[in-house]
Amino acid sequence: MWQVVLFNVTNGLIIGAFYVLMALGLSLILNLSNVINFAHGNFLALGGYLAFTLSPALGYWGALLVSPLLTALLGVAVERLMIRRIYNRDPVYSLLLTFGLAFVLQDVARYIWGPNGLPMGLPDALAQPITESLFFITWYRIFMVTVVIVTVVGLFAFLRYSRIGLRIRAGTLDLETVATLGVNVRNLRTFNFAVGCLLAGLSGVLAAGQIGLNPNMGDDLLMPSFIAIIVGGVGSLIGTLCGGLLIGLAAALTTVFYPSASEAVIYAILMAVLLLRPRGLLGEEGMMS
């Protein structure tokens, strides 16, 4: 029994880690630019596919570093060409735009890499289980969680201590004032969008090693990420972090006892939060309203 529970707890942590990376990127973009990026899951898939294509040339480690950066570059292009044009318009337009973009990107991935799933090769060192009794914990899983932790800590340190991070946080609260103080808000938003896409690309590479690649691999992660943001509280990145871990763990633990309800429990948490604490666990009242 304890092994089953442990198995699912590790699973939950890993799934939660994906939710966290994905939701943090979404949350960054949402907080500063007021845009829900429907295409985030497709940036994730592209990150994974780019790693798949690059790893024969660069090796796994090279691809792990390069493909998130390429995803971020793509994000810069998308933001400059399209998303920046609709910042000052009704939110309906940004939703429709990223929604359409998601369709296009998914079709592009399907066109280039084919509709069927592809396996992502891993270095041998990572593919081994750590011990025989804990066969389900491969080094890859440990590696993955470590990368996520390092990334999240790095992101928070960046936002806390760097000048750009300070501007992003200030812009979340009051973009107009930040602009008045002489910060180039246009570039700030582009950079912020790129960071969001970088996180998506990174989770794509990591997810590819765990679940393989397919053109709509991001779709299954998108909705839980939305829920992680709402549960954690819109406007709070720490909240998003907690929300992601919470629903990942909750879904995994439900799998132990009642597997078919593992999706439903995520929505039950959403409902409970909306009912009992509408601003989210760590959200502030008045954000986004």
Binding site: L30, N34, V35, I36, F38, M82, R85, I86, R89, D90, P91, V92, Y93, S94, L95, L96, L97, F99, G100, L101, A102, F103, V104, L105, Q106, D107, V108, R110, Y111, M223, F226, I227, I229, I230, V234, S260, E263, A264, Y267, L270, M271, L274, L275, P278, M287, M288, S289
Partner: protein, 327 residues
Amino acid sequence: MSTTAVAVEKPQLRINRRLVTLVAIWMVLLAAPFWLPLVGGYTALAGRVLVFGLAAMGLNLLLGFTGVLSFGHAAYFGLGAYGAGLTLRYLVHSTPLAMIAGTLLGGLAGTLFGMLIVRRRGVYFAMCTIAFGQLWYYLAYSWNDFTGGFDGLRDFHREPIGFAPFTLDIMGNATSFYYFLLAIFAAAVTLMGLILRSPFGRTMLAIRENERRALFLGIPVARHIWMSFSISCFFTALAGTLYALLNNFADPLALHYSLSGYFVIMCVMGGMRTFWGPLLGAAVFVVLQDYISSMTVNWMSFIGTIFILVVLFFPRGLLGVLRRVSA
């Protein structure tokens, strides 16, 4: 027509023009089974336009006339479809009862959920509606025995209406089913028009134009948004029941957020500040989708590109532009 004439006789001309538009719209709709085959269409396509048009017009009460963004209306559409389908399959073989059950199911779900999120605004509101909408998708998807799961709900069909000898055969005859749809559509749309002309409808417009001022005028803004959300869900759910009757089938994709996106783009493409815009948007969208998906497997990129182009270059929509040109 010259602009000076418009300026001189504006009120008279406006009423006339509105009348002409109305007559034209209903003529086109009434005659659809006759002219559609001539241009290569088929009656079921017109039925789909009516169904999606009704759903989009229902959404537009909220989106265009109250200024509140829901990106999860497929949930209520799909609940209507499943409500009708499940009723026909498990409970009674009656088309009107199935429609009532489906409309109530979708409408009440929307009403209850609206209560939870009515104080949220903008993208936050939208995000809540998306997430909640997906709940029903997963439910229909995973509750295999009851809903048919991913394959959808089958083994039901619409029943003839009325009692013998006065029955209306809407089962086999596509044309008579189309007129049945059109009658329901007409009733629903008339009701929408009445709602929009009522003091309540005017209050919705006031909230859209300036929420804070509406609040200062003593309007209970949250309650009005909630009512508007609820009413719009009922209309969309009604459209959903018609969808189930049209296809004799309900599938989880009728609940998926992609469909919510389609509804929103129908409103925007047709012109979300206009009454008939969503119907026009639905017509354009349904025809385009039908045409493109028969031409290429990569229809997703075409639909996605349409979304992007409409947002970037055509945000007012067809009727919005038309109205601007004529004004």
